[in-house]
């Protein structure tokens, strides 16, 4: 199925090296990937496997040491600030920790207004902007009237993360990079947030790159899965193939590490 979709974000030999000489650390080691439009792709790995470094490279927040990233079939060009700004119209992110994702000195209004301005709505009358913000908030089950003139830290973690999704709703990017967006949220809010992400995907035909350490979650939501170990992709393919019939030992280990209810947890493999 994925073969029919258009190429969205592909990479060849993407590498990130920190430091020089003896202190050199290869965080991401020659990875190849092919993310298709409208798919949900999960990148699964344990802490320190290079997931976040890869996501920052994909976002263009840090430079790529080696290799090439292609965006919509063309080589990605983020050499100037103007081009970066253009690129960020196509790719957006939700971060792991909602509490540190917001500038505590800015009001919620300004967070959402920034998104409208970025989509070229700077000159719109305020009524229209207000309507857009209200719509975005109601999409994530928030009441904009209650949020206006409030600061992000006055919200709960789940509400903050939903506000992040409202942001994405306004920005309508081609790709959403979700870096463990639910790991700091309680289980109930987690389901709501995942639901909203899926709903948003259907609404604007967005590619979601879902970065997580939770292989169960990856299986639940994704079309294809990339398993990452020590900066390398050890296995990738359709979610069912990879998780139900894992080939790499690392994948098997990850699957065994998921605690199961009503079953004794085999700690010897941890």
């Amino acid at each position: 199925m994925s073969e029919k979709r258009a190429q969205c974000l592909t990479g060849k030999g993407v590498t990130k090296v920190f430091g020089l000489g003896d202190k050199k650390t290869v965080a991401v080691d020659h990875v190849d990937f092919d993310f298709r439009e409208g798919e949900i792709i999960s990148i699964v790995g344990e802490s320190g496997s290079g997931k976040t470094t890869l996501s920052k490279m994909l976002l263009g927040l840090i430079s790529v040491s080696e290799g090439e990233v292609m965006f919509q079939g063309k080589p990605r060009d983020i050499s100037t600030n103007q081009k970066k700004k253009e690129y960020w119209k196509g790719i957006q992110a939700i971060f792991q920790d909602p509490f540190s994702s917001y500038n505590t000195f800015n009001k919620i209004d300004s967070v959402l207004l920034d998104c409208i301005n970025m989509r070229g709505g700077k000159s719109l009358p305020y009524d229209q902007k207000f309507e857009m913000m209200r719509e975005a908030c109601s999409f994530v089950n928030l009441e904009f009237k209650e949020l206006t003139n409030k600061y992000p830290f006055e919200l709960s973690g789940g509400q903050m993360q939903r506000l992040m999704i409202a942001r994405i709703f306004l920005l309508k990017p081609k790709i959403l990079l979700a870096d463990e967006p639910t790991s700091m949220i309680d289980a109930c809010s987690r389901a709501t947030i995942l639901d909203m992400l899926l709903k948003l995907r259907d609404e604007i035909n967005m590619t979601i790159i879902f970065i997580t350490h939770d292989i169960g979650l990856a299986y639940y939501i994704s079309d294809s899965v990339y398993i990452m170990e020590h900066g390398k992709f050890v296995e990738h393919g359709k979610a069912e193939d990879v998780i139900l019939h894992p080939k790499a030992t690392y994948t098997q280990r990850l699957i065994n590490d998921v605690p199961k209810i009503y079953e004794e947890w085999d700690l010897s493999t941890v």
Partner: protein
């Protein structure tokens, strides 16, 4: 914001520091309104007049006199013969006068003088005494004789025609004047300095000037430090390397040496109060730069900064709205310390004679410089330098206390 302020004013350290500083600041503002005299007016014709009230002798003599039946002898004896003299008298009497130590009571000045009169002799055999010490006792003896002389003081006026002195009044030892009757009097709470200026008025003016120097130095150092630290920390790479190279160079050269060299090369006449403040500011920004830079480096990788980048904000806007507000408390603290060190630097510089050289302003450092130059510590004129030292200490103490208090509010790990 409101909450933070409330927290800040609940920190006892900050409040104590703030109260001391506010008191000093208010004094420098209110005092000149009450005492309008020029702080640099040379009132006293001479060096280092003691603290106290000075009444006009002429007014006292010409004013109404009251005779009081009080014992004036003991009082004047006590004021004219010092405790040191009494010790010396006791020493002489026990060593050479043959008086038992138990018979001498230093509290009873009259008794001591009676013993002295009875036993002292210039020609007595005084083994072990140096010639100068012997002379000292001769002088002391004469002094005591003078004190004991209880004759009236005669006031005489010159006859304009003959030029002869005509006695117009005599003043007995029991005659008094009411100080309220004396029209001309002047109180120097802290005496006068080497130029005959009122030390208190000068001190208040100097505190104001020194605070201004500190403020100018603090603002300049903080602005430069903040600007370089933000750019260096946020941009990284070559810009960071270059700025840190310059900063390290300035850190390695002791800033005080640099301060001396710049002050010296600017020249004596050009060095005004503001210029000294600017020079101090220009040499003391390195610390702020380094610490702001390290804070920015830890801030620039936070998610909210990344989010701001993804929202397409310019670098300028990210620095100003996403990084600077998080540094604000830190910068305020650095600023407070810079003011305090600016004031201290000015004092050090002025002590070396490289401070503001204007004759129309006093600074705390200049007052110290004058007091030292005119040997106030040697001749016992404590009022010329001690209040200055106390003021400098209070300013530095209060500012540092405020800084520590703020640190505890903003850094929860330091809370008691």
């Amino acid at each position: 914001m409101k909450n933070t302020l409330r927290q800040v004013f609940h920190s006892p350290k900050f409040v104590i520091g703030f109260v001391i500083f506010a008191a000093l600041l208010l004094t420098t503002i209110i005092y000149p309104i009450i005492v309008t005299a020029d702080p640099l007016e040379m009132v006293g014709n001479g060096n280092f007049f003691k603290p106290g009230t000075y009444v006009s002798v002429k007014d006292s003599v010409e004013g109404t006199r009251y005779t009081l039946n009080v014992d004036v002898k003991a009082g004047s004896l006590d004021s004219k013969i010092s405790a040191e003299d009494k010790e010396s008298m006791k020493e002489w009497l026990t060593k050479f006068g043959g008086v038992a130590e138990a018979d001498i009571n230093l509290e009873d000045t009259e008794g001591l003088i009676a013993l002295w009169e009875a036993n002292y002799s210039e020609d007595a055999d005084q083994p072990g005494l140096t010639a100068s010490r012997k002379k000292y006792f001769v002088r002391l003896n004469k002094n005591i004789d003078g004190v004991l002389l209880d004759s009236d003081v005669i006031i005489a006026q010159k006859d304009p025609e003959t030029g002869e002195l005509v006695e117009s009044a005599t003043i007995g030892s029991k005659e008094f004047v009411n100080t309220k009757d004396v029209a001309n009097k002047k109180t120097f709470i802290l005496g006068t300095d080497n130029f005959g200026r009122d030390v208190l008025t000068e001190l208040v003016d100097a505190t104001k000037t020194s605070l201004r120097v500190g403020l100018i130095a603090g603002i300049i150092a903080t602005l430069i430090g903040l600007f370089l630290g933000l750019i260096s920390g946020y941009m990284g790479g070559v810009v960071d390397d270059l700025i840190m190279f310059i900063t390290n160079m300035f850190t390695v050269i002791p800033s005080f040496v640099l301060l001396i060299l710049i002050s010296y090369s600017v020249g004596q006449n050009a060095r005004g109060v503001n210029l000294v403040g600017i020079i101090i500011g220009l040499t003391s920004w390195t610390w702020t730069t380094r610490s702001v830079r390290s804070q920015v480096i830890s801030l620039r990788n936070r998610d909210h900064v990344n989010l701001s980048k993804l929202s397409g904000h310019s670098m300028m806007r990210i620095v100003l709205t996403d990084i600077l507000p998080y540094l604000a408390s830190y910068v305020v603290m650095a600023f407070i310390l810079q003011i305090s060190s600016g004031i201290l630097s000015e004092a050090q510089l002025s002590m070396l004679g490289l401070g503001p050289s204007t004759s129309n302003a006093a600074t705390l450092g200049l007052m110290m410089n004058w007091a030292t130059a005119y040997a106030a510590p040697l001749n016992g004129s404590w009022w010329a330098y001690f209040p200055v030292v106390v003021t400098i200490a209070l300013i530095a103490f209060s500012l540092n206390l405020m800084n520590t208090g703020l640190d505890q509010v903003f850094n929860p790990q330091l809370r008691d």
